[in-house]
């Protein structure tokens, strides 16, 4: 089976800084891959480089045999990528409805149906549908951002630290949501919260100093405390 998403020795710069220095990873259809690594390792930059928000300076990025490497972001996304950024990327001056609408570039009945289906899952959003997004809580923004990634018929969803800054009870809710749509979607999840990573992920990659240094199954990682300490700095109970 061919990977759905493949990064081959990808490099990228932010300004003069060489941030990604060789990221190689493969994501197969239907799996949930977790990207782990310490603060500043380059996890967010990896997702942003896939989208094209940070241009790749070397290497190759292939999604479903389409070469994304030199595409502008609005074009890569239309190849079937949903992006849930670290800060949720919710537009305050738009209503909840508009925050979904703005992502619906296909403008067809299927997209409308998918949106209605997503709203059935996210009851909170349905209640605040006509309100300005500036009135939403952090948890609701996260949910809206995830919902927005699901209104298009995306092949893969990139999610950046969905548990960050949220109360534990909300984190549980986010996790349950991810587990629900994990059944149908391929996911790349950046996550520092080890429990979340283990609950959702099938396989992992560890990024250190802009390079993928290790990968394996989540099960292997859970069983190997030495590995966790060495690469992630976790002090697990």
């Amino acid at each position: 089976m061919d990977p759905l998403l493949k990064l081959d020795n990808v490099s990228s710069f932010i300004g003069p800084f060489h941030i990604l220095q060789g990221v190689t990873l493969e994501v197969y259809p239907g799996e949930a891959v977790v990207i782990l690594g310490r603060n500043g390792a380059g996890k967010t930059t990896t997702l942003r480089t896939i989208i094209g928000l940070v241009p790749a300076s070397a290497g190759k990025i292939i999604l479903d045999s389409v070469d994304l490497t030199a595409m502008p972001p609005y074009h890569t996304v239309r190849q079937g990528i949903g992006f849930v950024p670290e800060d949720y990327g919710i537009f305050d001056a738009l209503t909840v409805e508009e925050n979904l609408l703005i992502a619906m570039w296909q403008e067809d009945q299927d997209t409308v149906d998918r949106r209605d289906h997503v709203l059935e899952l996210f009851t909170d959003l349905k209640e605040s549908y006509k309100r300005l997004a500036s009135t939403l809580s952090g948890g609701q923004r996260q949910m809206l951002s995830i919902a927005r990634a699901l209104v298009n018929d995306n092949k893969i969803i990139l999610i950046d630290e969905p548990s960050k800054g949220l109360a534990p009870i909300i984190v549980e809710k986010v996790r349950d949501t991810l587990l629900t749509f994990k059944q149908e979607k391929t996911i790349v999840l950046v996550e520092q919260n080890f429990e979340m990573a283990c609950a959702v992920g099938d396989r992992y990659y560890i990024i250190a100093e802009g390079q993928t240094v290790l990968d394996g199954t989540i099960k292997e990682l859970m069983d190997d405390e030495e590995l966790q300490r060495k690469h992630l700095g976790f002090v697990t109970a």
Partner: protein, 288 residues
């Protein structure tokens, strides 16, 4: 009382003209993050083109449409060739747009000569109404009506259309808009051209008010428009509407009673607002 009414109408008419310039400038600053000094020269070109076309066709509406079209076209060319390479670089934007201003002002002199060209008001609006001994110029009322219509139009565009939705989102994060599959550069170009068209419209409508067109006429209104957007809050369309009315009225009243104070008063007003509310009357936190 009748002086008050007259000054009120003069001030609102002046405000309408400033608004035509400020609305575009404000949205261009808020959405594109571009500090743009080409609006003054677009104003001048709007004036010249309208006079030129009016002299050939004798039709005021055609002259106005031609001025607006010329403004939009110049805006598109400016954005594509000169602004696009300097997105994100404010210093370069200031230098380039000031440079464009100088070059295109000289070009206007070259085409239409250095001397003011007299212009007349369209006949159907050259009249006055007299209400209670107050003389009201029909053309000023026309300007106020145009200002109101443009404000309604922009409000509709921003709040009721898909384009407006993208604009509101883009003011907060152009990057996230792109990450949702939208080519925001197209919107940038459209907004720049639209703002340019409004500035040219302002120039075309200003000329009949003052009676002639000359190559130095844009600068005053451009300065007032900048004061308006800082006063009203950068990137806020409501701010530029309200700010234009305030500045228009201030200019009208102060210049009637004591002209030398006009400039000082507007600047003082600006400082006062910035002291009390640094983000401007309707401003949101500006990006970066």
């Amino acid at each position: 009382m009748h002086i008050f009414l007259m000054l009120l109408i003069n001030g609102l008419a002046e405000g309408a003209l400033i608004f035509l310039m400020a609305a575009g400038l404000s949205i261009i600053l808020g959405l594109l993050g571009v500090v743009n000094f080409t609006h003054g020269v677009l104003f001048i070109w709007g004036g010249y083109v309208s006079i030129w076309i009016f002299s050939m066709t004798g039709s005021f509406p055609i002259a106005i449409i031609a001025a607006v079209a010329a403004g939009a076209l110049m805006g598109l060319v400016f954005e594509r060739l000169f602004i696009r390479p300097v997105y994100g670089n404010v210093t370069a934007q200031i230098l380039i747009t000031l440079g464009l201003g100088v070059v295109f002002t000289d070009m206007a002199r070259l085409f239409w000569g250095p001397n003011p060209i007299p212009a007349s008001r369209p006949e159907f609006m050259d009249g006055t109404w007299v209400i209670d001994a107050v003389i009201i110029s029909q053309y000023r009322i026309f300007l106020i009506v145009v200002g109101i219509l443009v404000a309604i139009g922009i409000n509709y565009l921003v709040n009721r259309t898909k384009v407006g939705m993208v604009m509101r989102a883009g003011i907060q994060s152009p990057e996230m808009v792109q990450a949702l599959g939208i080519n925001i550069k197209v919107y940038f170009a459209g907004v720049f051209a639209g703002g340019a068209a409004l500035a040219a419209l302002g120039g075309a409508l200003y000329v009949p008010l003052v009676g002639s067109v000359w190559s130095g006429m844009g600068i005053n209104n451009q300065i007032l428009a900048f004061i308006v957007i800082i006063l009203g809050g950068m990137g806020s369309f409501y701010g530029s509407a309200v700010g234009s009315i305030i500045i228009g009225l201030t200019v009208a009243f102060v210049s009637w009673f004591y002209p030398p104070l006009t400039v000082y008063t507007t600047v003082l007003l600006l400082l006062l607002v910035l002291t009390l509310k640094p983000e401007g009357l309707f401003g949101m936190a500006v990006r970066n």
